[in-house]
Amino acid sequence: MIQARALAKRFGDRRVFAGVDLDVPDGGFLLVTGPNGSGKTTLLRVLAGLAAPTAGELQLPPRHTIGYLGHEPLVYRELTPLENLTLFGRLYRLPERGERIGMLLERFGLWDVRHERVSTFSRGMQQRLGLCRVLLHEPTHLLLDEPYNALDAEGAMLLDGIFDEPRTWVVATHEPERVERQATERLAFA
């Protein structure tokens, strides 16, 4: 359950958003839309616990149950996909991480390049790896900021597939038509 009351965020004198009320029940899907600079990214960072709200009340699930994908894929570029996922598997204390990592790399089409450095990847492949990292610890709450960024048609279809999984979703996107079917709640920034 993600719940917010009168949530506000400012950077100095600049108001990013104010008066945001949210109720995303377990298993719900919040679709966040709005133009560039309207506060979508900042809201997701606040909901991920990465930034503090300036005002309002916020109820978040435990940190380790959250998976967050920002504008960056949040992987080390000088490591390989296997090294990145092994590191995060250790940090998330996954018991049988080898099997899970292998399954995710296969699923997102990265198995054949698992020993190559991420810095040699296209932005789309990095985004796929970012999705693997986010799903690695099987989070119950997924916060995705523009997840379709840089993905080709095949990558976008792979991403479409994960939205049917029973989790709590908060997705900010400029392509709302792709997730309109799953959305149970909507928040539109002006």
Binding site: L50, G67, E72, L74, V75, Y76, R77, E78, L91
Partner: protein, 205 residues
């Protein structure tokens, strides 16, 4: 045990990143050897041991600063703090893993720097080597904390030296004077403070 394995995984990651990028350690080695060479030719013959030791400490502090400046490059450029903070790892483990990696780079630089100093100047005694080893602990613990603080700041290239160099003055005083007890005390106090403070440095929350 979990805390130790988290720290080990994070430190190993930094060593692997450096092994691949080969940016920090070669720069530190080149800098410290160049600095000692310049000091060798700049100092007149018959210079006292204390003056030479002072220059060794100046070279080591600036070499460490070079390493600390590079310590959080991946976290800054690839926003990796976000990913690390969301894991269930104790945030101080992130600091300790990074401090251990910086310590390894500094020791590797000193393995070359100390024999170079001994060759250029008046040899090297055990007390100086012990002081350097103790100083490394203080440099890495305090420097890593300030390195993380500088990542969040806008003028980060200026912020780290401004924060770190004043805090390095006691290390130089203890090192040049050979006051090992003072360095032990410095290490204990500032390692504890840095360990406790890191939590508040890496997140707004």
């Amino acid at each position: 045990m979990t805390y130790a394995s988290d720290v080990a995984a994070l430190a190993r990651k930094d060593l692997l990143l450096e092994l691949r990028a080969k940016e920090t350690l070669p720069s530190m080695l080149l800098f410290v050897v160049a600095a000692l060479t310049i000091f060798h030719f700049a100092l007149p013959n018959g210079t006292s041991d204390v003056a030479a030791r002072g220059l060794l400490w100046a070279a080591l502090i600036f070499t460490a600063l070079l390493g600390l400046t590079r310590a959080f490059v991946a976290e800054r450029e690839q926003s990796m703090f976000d990913a690390l903070i969301l894991t269930p790892v104790d945030r101080s483990a992130i600091w300790l893993g990074k401090a251990l990696a910086v310590f390894a780079f500094l020791v590797a630089a000193e393995v070359v720097a100390l024999p170079a100093f001994a060759a250029f100047f008046h040899g090297l005694n055990g007390r100086t080597v012990a002081a350097v080893a103790l100083a490394d602990v203080g440099i890495c613990t305090v420097g890593t904390l300030f390195g993380a603080m500088a990542v969040a700041g806008r003028a980060r290239e200026l912020l780290l030296p401004l924060l770190f160099l004043p805090m390095a003055i006691p290390i130089v005083v203890g090192g040049v004077g050979g006051f090992l007890w003072f360095l032990v005390l410095y290490d204990a106090i500032f390692a504890l403070l840095s360990w406790a403070a890191f939590e508040y440095v890496v997140s707004e929350v």
